[in-house]
């Protein structure tokens, strides 16, 4: 028995070349995430079920009265308008950004990086400065209004243009990356087989880059919903987004519990879209373009 057992040696495991990282290396980033993200989220959650006891003071208890207040028709209307404005802004961003990203990925070779730089450079300036720059362009006494008759400052159209202008680079980058990864020989094969260019675009390019478009769309839609500066500056303070309501509640009313409940409600409403983003981002990672 012993000889048999000795004769049957266990198979020697080959050396694995898969990278192995000690878990403790993630501790710094996990700590940063816990302190600067999870911590404030937890504080927000605790405030949202508390009661205001004074200016900027909170009585810690468990009450859903703040969320009951969120159900008021004023806030529901503002939520609906915000989602509609953000959806419109996102659609316009897709309409403007996709052709630009397509042209850069498909037809530019020598100047591709330069075009990318031109898209990114405005991001190097402050968001507030960019919005004020747009305000100057749209000024009723400016060339656009005086010479072309496009007088839209302090209207919802100015807010829409501001949203597209400020978030366009955020959409173009993931879509461009998606288009860059695409195998363009598929288009050549399709046209060789008799497909019309638009048919090839619709059935191949659009389908393969759809995860990138959805990712880019959600990357702009979600921050648009929380916008504060653009409605204030380009809308003349007249177009309330949920972000403005939250700002007024914390700043003017110093009602931290209700402001927290509004913030949590906005996050809950947007979480649906975040899940969609994760699904599409995962699919794009798995299947690529």
């Amino acid at each position: 028995m012993t000889a048999v057992a000795a004769a049957v040696k266990p198979a020697k495991r080959g050396r694995s070349f898969a990278p192995r990282y000690p878990t403790w290396l993630t501790l710094p980033s996990a700590l940063y995430y816990a302190v600067f993200f999870l911590g404030p989220m937890a504080i927000l959650a605790v405030f949202s079920v508390s009661i205001q006891s004074g200016f900027g003071s909170v009585e810690y208890t468990f009450s859903t009265s703040q969320f009951a207040q969120v159900n008021d028709s004023l806030y529901i209307t503002v939520f609906e308008r915000t989602l509609l404005m953000a959806a419109t802004g996102t659609l316009l961003t897709i309409v403007v950004g996709y052709p630009l990203a397509y042209w850069m990925a498909r037809y530019l070779s020598t100047y591709k990086m330069l075009a990318l730089l031109v898209i990114i450079v405005p991001f190097w300036t402050s968001f507030l400065i960019r919005t004020y720059a747009l305000k100057i362009i749209l000024d009723p006494h400016g060339y656009l209004a005086k010479d072309l008759g496009i007088d839209i400052l302090y209207t919802k159209y100015a807010v829409g243009i501001g949203l597209v202008y400020n978030y366009l680079p955020l959409f173009i980058l993931p879509v461009f990356a998606s288009l860059e990864r695409m195998d363009w020989t598929l288009i050549e094969a399709a046209t060789d087989l008799g497909a019309l260019p638009f048919t090839a675009f619709r059935n191949i390019t659009l389908r393969l880059t759809l995860p990138g478009v959805v990712t880019g769309g959600l990357l702009v839609f979600i921050p648009m919903c929380g916008e504060y500066i653009i409605p204030n500056i380009l809308g003349g303070g007249k177009y309330e987004f949920v972000g403005n309501i939250i700002g007024d509640t914390f700043g003017d009313a110093q009602n931290w519990p209700f402001g927290s409940a509004l913030s949590i409600s906005l996050m809950a409403a947007l979480s649906v879209f975040v899940v969609i983003y994760i699904v599409f981002a995962t699919r794009e990672e798995q299947f690529g373009a």
């Binding site: 200016f55 900027g56 004023l74 302090y154 003349g236 309501i245």
Partner: protein, 270 residues
């Protein structure tokens, strides 16, 4: 400041460290937001008024009250940009005062009236902003707006050549407000803070300040040193015949502040 005093956020001042307090007009030592006068020293004060471009806005009769201002909005918004000052603590109390109510009313019926009134003039408002209106009005981009008296004075100076701005001190109710110096309860260097306040109460320092920001500082010796043109300007030195009707806007309790904030949000979202 009233809120900070209520919440214990301010330190009681030691006036032994501020000998120049004797320079301040005694009438301004106490205020409704600090009834004992122990927590603040007034920095400057002002009032809320309104102005219009007389080449564009041509009212049938000379507007005299804040209610007249609101009633001009709907009729003139198509001619150019109209503006009201922003913030729940400005929009709601000013509208309440225009209706003859107290700025600090917490009567629900009066607040409901104020809300209805604001919604009725909402379409006449192009912008709701307290920031940047000085430059825009100086450039002739605003035809009708509320404003603080020091800012309106600067606009009048800037438009002197065109001469097209009419400024109106409301004859009935409006807002009087004050900027004040105070020391936080947790201030690490309170002695230095007291020395700073004492420095600012020197008449020569006050003159420099007034010439810069165009708001009066109630130090009689400093006011006497101001040029006659400034001293006698009713927009700088607002006569008591007007200010006797004006009120400080206070935040007496969170319930009223929340109610004002909601009315303000309804006004903006309409």
């Amino acid at each position: 400041m009233g809120e900070l005093i209520q919440e214990g956020g301010l330190m009681k001042l030691d006036f032994n460290l501020i000998p120049n307090i004797k320079n301040l007009d005694p009438k301004f030592r106490k205020a409704s937001f600090d009834p004992t006068g122990e927590f603040h020293v007034i920095k400057d004060f002002g009032i809320t008024m309104f102005f219009y471009q007389n080449t564009v806005v041509k009212p049938a009769s000379e507007p005299k009250t804040m209610k007249d201002f609101y009633e001009l909005l709907n009729a003139n918004v198509s001619k150019g940009r109209t503006n009201v000052l922003d913030g729940a603590e400005e929009v709601v109390p000013l509208a309440a005062m225009a209706l003859g109510y107290s700025a600090n009313t917490d009567d629900q019926a009066e607040l409901d009236d104020t809300q209805k009134f604001l919604l009725s003039i909402r379409k006449g408002v192009t912008t709701i902003s307290s920031f940047g209106y000085i430059n825009d009005a100086s450039a002739g981009k605003i035809i009708l707006s509320q404003g603080w008296n020091g800012d309106v004075r600067r606009i009048l100076k800037a438009r002197k050549k065109e001469g097209d701005i009419t400024a109106v001190l409301p004859t009935e109710k409006s807002e009087v407000w004050a900027d004040s110096w105070c020391v936080p309860a947790t201030a690490p260097h309170p002695v230095a803070a007291h020395a700073w306040i004492n420095f600012l109460l020197e008449p020569t320092t006050a003159v420099t300040e007034m010439e810069y920001h165009s708001y009066p500082i109630p130090i009689p010796a400093a006011l006497d040193q101001m040029p006659a043109e400034t001293k006698n300007d009713p927009i700088f030195n607002v006569p008591s015949t007007y200010t006797d009707n004006y009120e400080y806007i206070l935040n007496p309790n969170p319930q009223l502040v929340n109610a004002r904030t909601k009315i303000y949000q309804q006004f903006k979202a309409a």
